[in-house]
Symmetry: D2
Subunit: 339 residues, 4 copies
């Protein structure tokens, strides 16, 4: 906690800030320069609004020195977190893990066909949405529990992990029954009530970055889950909103190496949502791996033209197969392997 | 629905797109130019993903001609919506309506003091949060039902409308008991399950724009509520995320006249969240009114330095009083009055 | 200059940073906390790249405490700068100054008609472009010196200041002959060679904010001019680029009060470029004044439908007249008058 | 050119728009639907402001169907442009071309050392700035012509192409004498006067994307050069401004495959400016190649800690060497080789 006082700040203003800092639990060191005074508050407290200090008379600027997250920070586990999953899959280890499947579970037949395709190509996980609240109230809203059941069966049959999105606290018990990883979508990244509940369970959480969330905010949301005792959190970059309109979102590939540096948690890339266009999925999947991602989340559909949702960003099976071959070439460049 | 084919698109590609459009329910008109063919699909359907067309071979670009919202559009009610509320207050009418109060309800004593202050200065509504999920799990989480009860009592005593944020479907019945307007926060603007439920009730909803939401997306979220039969929706601009870091958000004042043009719904400005800094609240409140807002939502606290949350963006009572006087000068410039 | 060392930074790393700071001319104060060490560098130097410090081993974060500008800062002239111009006009004083005219000078006849209109309505300055480099090489490129000559004559005839954009160093002498205020466009805000030359002349400069420039960067560009000895700089907000696509740019009204707080320089709003749409010009002009602008720059054309450039954002004469009346109502709310 | 009329637009309004389109040189086809009328203008003209149509009474929305660029579009040269350079280097061919060197030329000794390092590691080009206008007027401003001369000598000695930034029209003759590729910096991407002059010369131009420029705007700027007859334009992604503050800019890796799709011009990535941080250069260089870049532009310095500018984003020689090895592993994944 650093407070830079304005040039010409008066002694009683400085004293007032010092007292405020002490009240917050900081030990305060004062540096008096020719032009201005700087106050350094040393201590462990993180839970305050720095704007309260900024508004005090005579204050020029306030800097929060320590990162507002602790458990999510790299220094908490310098060696990195490896998450152990069924079928011997590890996320965060040497092997890059690919999880693929349709946007939504549409039918038993389609899902089994898709699961077979992605398993054969080398994927370790099966993704698919069971609950799909859509912008139009008349659109397909997902198969619900039936969809989860089908995913579980397909996962068991083809030796794939099952990952699906949890949208509300009330869905957690259902998810616990069927899936191996619970996904938190970008829109829920700051749904703190949901995050708190997910901190209490003991299954891995894949946490997607919100489209307007900074890297620090993503780590703060992860902290929320970790602080509840659930240490198996996987981060996921899936595109941020910028002024560029050619793509739905701008996939921030640089977030991958930054997150790896700031945090010990595994980081995946989601090039399907990150770009919203099938023709960009393969280049951005390759870029994610080349930039150091621990894995990928992708949409693959047996027949994207007939998909009930997000067909435009789903790969054809042959494209996915080809992509996996390219990724196997790239992985050794970052000292990794891929299934 | 317009589809511009690429230069040199082949006949069977064009035919394929025509069939796709017909299958979606459109009547198709074909214009053949020297360089390219343009297909105009005429019809009423709105519920499809235009990217499915964009991905068809030979397609250059696709334009969704009709706005994706109907009930929220200005042409649905060209004269504008006026929402009638208790105490004879109308939102969307000639009078500009100000609703003010603390960020969170902290105690009966503080709230009553605040309610008295804002009522005397001319506010017609009392705002305050009862449920406050915070980024830190150790922070104050709000007074819950007790807070709502106190707000109701203060509202009744000082003749003020009561407005508070609903965060989850499960809180709706409680809100129905105590408040006059249910507020949907920026983070929930695309919580479609919640919006659907709010479409079924019969109390006004104040819908805040998400920090990464376009104006069109805000109107689409309003459409969700309207389509359920609840026509009393109030829109609210409260800042968007941009590259500028001096303020938390950049309050998009231009959204106010744009929303008034595109929609018949009333539009408020929230300069407290729009700027995050007390010293900017008054200028941006004045700007909102000058730009045509139907009202304002503001944070006022009897003692902002002691507020448990968001004190930095709360006005002192004397500042609020002074601001109301300035607004009374401005209102006639836009043909309005203020209480 | 504050350097926060990482938790666990080693003594020789800290020592290395201290030496680096000393070499840069700072006196260094060291604060050792339980978790981390903080170094405060006190001194006057501003001219270095803080990233060089960020890259040193063991460094967590670096904060530049003092604003990187001095002459442009409010503390340099707490009472505010008032720029004295011909015809007794003052910018930055009590009176709000409006400068209006066409996007480009098109003909003597049109310009004289426009000058008469804006003068009658109360404008004090005549704006117009003489050099118009356009995105298409086939578009109208401006009337050049002939256009400036016409502006000067019209200005003299109707008692209006003349303001026009300088695009290159080579145009400065020509501008000095004809105009009262030289305008630097948004695209040239960081053309440091041009800014340096403008620091050497003795005519006021109107400096527009770049569409991707932060408020601090605008002040740094102003500093460039001021440091050359030209203290008559006027700042101008004209829209920034955001994800919202309904308008060309998002006019950042909050920049007006922020600039007034951080700097002593006068601040104008340009709602024509700030929105790019005629129907938004009046609301945003009113908002600018309500937020504390010292003046406005606006496009008005005798017949916007026939304008050779930017007709879509030019007001009709009657609209401008009506707007000036509204502004006269608003000005007293901020303790100002308008001509 | 498509004009969607509002629901309920009147016949004379429609007729007025038709006449406007005809006057612009379009043949107009009219489609009358139940709700609204759509006008399709067919013709070759590109040079008009679509906002003039948007402002006509009764118009709902206007779509510019044809891309506003022609020569830069992929359909102009579907097979892609390959630029032939000295030393047998081709940009846009099968081999990925790396150009590296210091931010600024600082001394003959440093530059020769750097040139040797990058040549040995496999670079084909030597980059370096001779003119460095800086935000502070007191900073190092570059070695000027002397710097160019040194670059030329070093290039000749080590068999490297020479690339340097041209900042003003007046510098073009000097550049023609010494360099093989003239670079246009991000701040000059829309300096149309400069672009026009560069269209007249016959040396390749590397055009960097502005930090607030859309992909379409970058292609429009390229069109400006191409339309002058200079067809050897190389595009370069170097980061855009977003709300994320951890990096100076957000490098938009997806722009690489998008530009390759929309245009026939070669595309490079600049991970040094794209991230501004040395520790992110290697991951983003690998990502660029994996995403399909035709080459890279990078800052390498014999001793980054002592660099007079941008040392924080310059690689150490050993890091560059290691990176080149990784890129050789990745290149075959996209069917390419690297020197």
């Amino acid at each position: 906690m650093i407070v830079a006082m304005q040039e010409g700040a008066k002694d009683d203003q400085i004293q007032h800030v010092v007292e405020h800092l002490v009240k917050l639990g900081f030990a305060v060191h004062r540096t008096t320069g020719v032009l201005q005074t700087i106050l350094a508050g040393v201590g462990a407290r993180h839970d305050f609004d720095i704007r309260d200090l900024e508004m005090l008379p005579g204050v020029q600027e306030v800097y929060r020195v320590t990162a507002p997250y602790k458990l999510a920070g790299r220094s908490f586990r310098p060696e990195g977190t490896v998450i152990h999953l069924p079928h011997g899959v590890k996320i965060g280890g040497n092997e890059i893990v690919v999880m693929a499947g349709p946007c939504s579970v549409e039918s038993r037949e389609n899902l089994f066909r898709d699961a077979e395709v992605v398993a054969k190509a080398g994927a370790k996980g099966l993704r698919g949405g069971a609950f799909k609240p859509r912008s139009s109230p008349y659109s397909f809203q997902g198969m619900g529990e039936e969809g989860l059941k089908i995913m579980r069966e397909a996962g068991d049959k083809f030796g794939l992990l099952v990952i699906s999105e949890v949208m509300e606290i009330s869905q957690i018990p259902l998810m616990m029954t069927y899936v191996d990883i619970l996904q938190v979508g970008a829109r829920n990244m700051q749904n703190f009530n949901l995050l708190r509940e997910l901190g209490k369970i003991r299954k891995p959480i894949l946490l997607k970055r919100g489209i307007a969330a900074t890297i620090e905010e993503l780590l703060l949301s992860a902290e929320y889950i970790l602080s509840g005792g659930n240490y198996d959190v996987i981060l996921c970059e899936r595109g941020i909103r910028t002024f560029e309109t050619y793509t739905r979102n701008t996939m921030d590939i640089s977030a991958i190496p930054i997150l790896k540096k700031l945090s010990h948690l595994p980081v995946l890339g989601d090039p399907s949502h990150g770009t919203g266009r099938r023709d960009l999925v393969a280049p951005m999947a390759r870029a994610s791996v080349a930039a150091g991602a621990d894995g990928l989340l992708m949409e693959v559909h047996p027949n994207p033209d007939k998909a009930v949702s997000d067909g435009a960003q789903s790969l054809f099976p042959a494209q996915f197969d080809e992509l996996m071959k390219q990724l196997r070439i790239i992985a050794p460049a970052v000292g990794r392997t891929i299934g």
